[in-house]
């Protein structure tokens, strides 16, 4: 198993400049000596375990891995990873990571952020990192609440949310992080859930392999201030109707199994509006069901898929990789320009730069 994976990673273009680990790694190698201090029962534990468990699969020298975070509960993440790490300031992790990734292409740079960190105070940095397509993997822990400041509504909270700062209900319409990322020209956008380790790991794997910025939204339970926010997606019975699992190249079917073994509901394009809609799949109608194409250069369908979810009930929430397209990577382009400049002008010569073209000489 390990060997096949090692072979797999050696072909990952996104990581081709990152040195490989010498020996075999295990999850333990990625655990730091720091005591994890999230609230007992927090969804962050599951994500941490999944990431630590996944890292050996990449087979990268761990000194070449960096986790950068902002502020919030999830942003304590780097302290628990035995890699290089920076716990920065609120909202700025994508900017700081951009500087690091664009100057050091031999690093695998991960950003850990939350819904408040990434979408409120740091919204600007997030969208610009996405449009630039810097080689960053952004893990956005979305718990739809402010946890560290003890329970105010966040930019992903549902309208009418009763919190300490909104005793009569919040007035703000929420962001859908996946829609936002697609709108911001993201080349890779995925969504997963903290409690589904297998799915989470598969999404991390796809993100790591993606050259450029990957945004992974992770629905994460805050059991103190917003417990059960994603229960409808986790409870086996409800999830059947609520969750749309996307897989590239597969028809988008969900719900209780139909006669063909796939879900009894499907996503089709409405010929009248061009929008997507959900139908009960009949035997003769199965062909009309949309086949998921994450690699479609046009973001239109991925965006439409992201809009299927009801922001209040979370019904029809797509999870998996919504968009995964190749686009020039910022740090590679930046490096190319440096090389092109040297090719055109020769390696910089300080003496001739300082002298310039118009000089005069004073002799004693």
């Amino acid at each position: 198993m390990t060997e096949t994976i090692a072979e797999g990673t050696s072909t990952i273009e996104a990581l081709s400049l990152v040195p490989k680990a010498e020996g075999k790694q295990s999850m333990k190698d990625f655990k730091s000596d720091q005591e994890v201090r999230w609230c007992p029962g927090c969804g962050d534990y599951a994500v941490l375990a999944a990431v630590q468990g996944f890292m050996p699969e990449l087979g990268l020298a761990k000194e070449n891995i960096v986790f950068v975070s902002g502020i919030g509960c999830s942003s304590r993440f780097p302290y628990y990873m035995n890699t290089y790490g920076m716990h920065s300031i609120h909202g700025r992790a994508p900017a700081i990571a951009t500087g690091l990734a664009s100057s050091r292409r031999d690093l695998s740079v991960w950003v850990v952020t939350g819904d408040g960190d990434a979408l409120s105070i740091g919204g600007n940095h997030l969208i610009h990192a996405l449009r630039r397509n810097v080689n960053l993997k952004i893990l956005l822990f979305n718990n739809r609440i402010y946890g560290l400041t003890k329970g105010q509504y966040s930019p992903t909270s549902e309208v009418g949310k009763i919190t300490k700062s909104t005793p009569m209900g919040s007035l703000d319409a929420p962001f859908n992080p996946v829609s936002l990322a697609i709108g911001a020209e993201a080349s890779f956008v995925a969504r997963t859930v903290d409690s589904d380790r297998k799915h989470l790991t598969s999404v991390l794997r796809a993100a790591a392999a993606h050259p450029g910025t990957a945004l992974v939204e992770i629905y994460q339970n805050c059991n103190i201030f917003n417990d059960g926010a994603f229960e409808v997606l986790k409870d086996k019975q409800q999830a059947e109707e609520a969750v749309i699992r996307l897989e590239h190249g597969q028809p988008i079917r969900f719900g209780a199994p139909a006669e063909d073994g796939l879900g009894s509901k499907g996503v089709v394009r409405d010929p009248a509006t061009g929008d997507l809609k959900i139908i009960d799949v009949t035997a003769e109608g199965a062909d009309a069901v949309l086949v998921h194409d994450a690699r479609n250069p046009s973001p239109t369908t991925a965006f439409a898929l992201s809009r299927l979810a009801d922001p209040d009930t979370l019904h029809h929430t797509p999870i998996g990789v919504l968009r995964n397209v190749d686009r020039p990577v910022y740090d590679a382009l930046m490096s190319d320009q440096l090389e092109a400049a040297i090719e055109q002008k020769g390696k910089g010569d300080l003496a001739s730069l300082l002298a310039g073209n118009d000089t005069w000489t004073v002799v004693g």
Binding site: R92, A95, G99, S102, H128, I342, D358
Partner: protein, 671 residues
């Protein structure tokens, strides 16, 4: 004349006091000895001249000034420039707010400022005349573009009668020149529209002035052909206008005299020179610092006046391995720089005051992370948007204190445009050696002003190489060798710089208070107290050179073997920082020429102050501190040294004038 150069150097900038400032001042008639290509006309020699080009924002005055400066630099004069332009790219044509000007002072001796008042004003339109006339002393020459003195342009600035005809300019030596008409006439064979041809009138004016002052012209012609390489027609039209201006001077009777200002050979030490602006010198200083540190230079920046030129300049030099990142905002600019610093780059962010305000939180993070970072603040008028294109020194206290918590940051300030090069190297030295963000406080006047610069030999540049951490640095009680990111160097108190990619040194750092040594999160009260004091002690302990005091009277006493009691040195000290160096020094020369005793010192390091600053201040009865703010350095001096500093301040967006400061210093001496 040459034999008098050294004595004039002492009096530089002083010659105008109380005298008419016509170009004849300080001149010797030299009619018998014709200048090289001026035909039979009279040539007078001058020791120095101040010219101001003024026109509409769209008239190309900055370009004209730049070209005249280049010609002058090539010729070998000492020079100093003051561009002055509105923040609007194109304010309504012909209005007072739209006036853009460029003042140039050049001399056959060492000078320090762009000059208090112009000897020659070139006014391209009525607005330019009106906006600048108050600065022009009686007797000066004024060259006006008469074509623009028609009813509408004059009405725009409130001239009901033409000032060329109503006696307004009686006290001046006026040269009325139909610049527009002459330019159009000169270009009639080029097939250009009237509007296109008219655009070259600044080159006509430049040609005329180049003739008047015997400037070399090859450089400008080459420049025009290169600038318009893709439009050869336009290039040739501009060259033709430039030559026509020259020929006009040579042939028309109105310009009977031309002037020579000899090269300032004795003012300059031996070496190769070029002209350089502050922002260019600063950019080169950063590139040189990267080379001297053997680290890649990384600039994270967001465009802002008057700092953008540094971003432009550095982005041209990718072949030095320079990465420039134009961020989405000021915060991302410094954020990216800090990220690059974590990765082992020489990281820089460039901005002006409003940008510093936005970057403050990240500067605090850099203080806490103890990573090297150079923060360049090209100060401009504030508060808020303030005066984007004007100069001020009012960010000193922002740089010093503008962060939450105890977050000390070293501050380095250049004193002249060329000095920006050395100051940038010095800021990088401190950042790298002490692993700290450092403020480099320039200002709009230094940024855009220019002067001759002796190009340094590379082997004279400081060695800025640093050693990245590559091994464990601490032994635990059980004998385990570990790496502690906050284990400090005993001498500098700097922490190790362990960059990602170094095996075995994986560590996590952040803005939360860290335990001494391990760098792990710590909320322990005693540890926080210790860390705050340690970070302060690190900055306080930075090595900076002692402050040098220029006090010729005290030096004379020592030289003559007399004790301090026998011959009194000055009892008044003038202490400045940053770009006020030029006008302060010029004013000090004036005071001394008139027999006044005054000592002068200028601070490059504002945090920490030089070790001997307290002792220096204590030696003088009176300490005068001129600043382009409301007394920020004076406040610091008063707080730290309990000295009764006399603050003299101006916040007009313009540099001090030498004459103005000389009066202030004389008052202080006599007080």
């Amino acid at each position: 004349m040459t034999s008098q150069v050294s004595s004039q150097a002492e009096q530089a900038d002083g010659a105008l006091t109380g005298e008419p400032a016509a170009p004849g001042t300080g001149a010797e008639g030299n009619g018998g000895k014709n200048g090289g290509n001026s035909g039979a006309k009279e040539v007078r020699r001058l020791d120095r001249v101040i010219i101001r080009f003024a026109g509409d924002s769209g008239d190309g005055m900055q370009l004209t000034g730049d070209r005249f400066t280049s010609e002058t630099a090539t010729f070998g004069n000492d020079l100093s420039t003051l561009p002055n332009f509105p923040a609007e790219i194109r304010a309504p044509a012909g209005t007072l707010p739209g006036v853009s000007s460029f003042q140039l002072h050049f001399a056959d001796h060492d000078i320090l400022t762009p000059g208090d008042a112009p000897n020659v004003l070139v006014a391209m339109n009525p607005a330019a005349l009106k906006a600048n006339l108050a600065d022009v002393p009686r007797g000066a020459e004024i060259i006006v573009n008469t074509d623009e003195f028609t009813k509408r342009p004059m009405a725009k600035v409130g001239y009901e009668v033409s000032p060329l005809e109503d006696g307004t300019l009686q006290a001046y030596n006026v040269h009325p020149v139909p610049l527009t008409t002459l330019t159009i006439e000169a270009l009639k064979d080029f097939g250009l529209s009237r509007k296109e041809a008219e655009r070259s009138k600044n080159m006509f004016a430049l040609g005329l002035l180049s003739w008047m002052y015997h400037r070399p012209t090859e450089g400008t012609e080459a420049f025009l052909r290169q600038k318009f390489a893709k439009k050869p027609d336009i290039a040739e039209a501009n060259v033709a206008a430039f030559r026509a201006g020259w020929n006009f001077g040579e042939t028309t009777e109105d310009f009977a005299v031309s002037y020579e200002v000899a090269p300032a050979t004795q003012a300059f030490p031996t070496g190769t020179y070029r002209n350089i602006s502050g922002n260019l010198a600063l950019s080169y200083g950063l590139i040189a610092a990267g080379q001297q540190a053997d680290l890649p230079l990384y600039l994270g920046s967001y465009p802002i006046t008057p700092a953008s030129d540094i971003l432009h300049e550095l982005s041209k030099h990718k072949n030095f391995g320079v990465r420039t990142f134009q961020a989405e905002d000021e915060i991302a600019g410094i954020g990216a720089a800090l990220g690059a610093a974590f990765g082992g780059a020489l990281a820089v962010t460039t901005t002006s005051g409003p940008g510093v305000a936005l970057k403050s939180e990240t500067i605090g993070l850099a203080v806490s992370l103890e990573l090297p970072l150079v923060i360049v603040d090209i100060q401009r008028g504030g508060p808020s948007t303030g005066l984007p294109t004007k100069t001020e020194q009012a960010d000193l206290l922002q740089a010093m204190y503008g962060r939450n918590g105890e977050a000390p940051v070293p501050i380095v300030a250049p004193r002249t445009p060329a000095d920006c090069f050395d100051a940038a190297l010095d800021a990088a030295r401190i950042a790298l050696m002490y692993r700290t963000p450092v403020f480099l406080l320039s200002d709009g006047y230094l940024a855009n002003g220019s002067e001759p610069w002796r190009i340094p030999e590379l082997d004279q540049l400081p060695d800025l190489r640093v050693q990245f951490a590559n091994d464990t640095n601490h032994t635990l009680a059980d004998g385990t060798e570990v790496f502690w990111p906050y284990q400090r160097d005993e001498q500098t108190l700097a922490r190790p710089w362990a960059v990602p990619g170094t095996p075995g040194l994986e560590h996590r750092i952040g803005g939360i208070e860290k335990q001494d040594g391990t760098g792990n999160i710590s909320y322990d009260p005693a540890n926080h107290d210790f860390m705050v004091r340690t970070r302060q002690a690190k900055i306080d302990g930075i090595e900076v050179p002692d402050l040098e005091v220029d006090d010729p009277t005290a030096e004379a006493a020592v030289r003559d073997g007399q004790g301090a009691a026998a011959v009194q040195g000055a009892d008044t000290l003038v202490l400045g920082w940053g770009s006020t160096y030029g006008p302060i020094t010029a004013a000090v020369r004036r005071v001394r020429r008139d027999g006044g005793r005054i000592a002068q010192a200028h601070l490059r390091h504002l945090n920490p102050f030089p070790r001997n600053l307290g002792a220096v201040l204590a030696r003088y009865d009176k300490v005068v501190v001129p600043e382009m703010n409301l007394g920020q350095l004076a406040t610091l001096l008063r707080a730290k040294y309990l000295v009764d500093a006399r603050s003299y301040t101006q916040v007009s967006g313009m540099p001090f004038k030498a004459e103005q400061l000389a009066e202030v210093f004389k008052e202080a001496i006599n007080d």
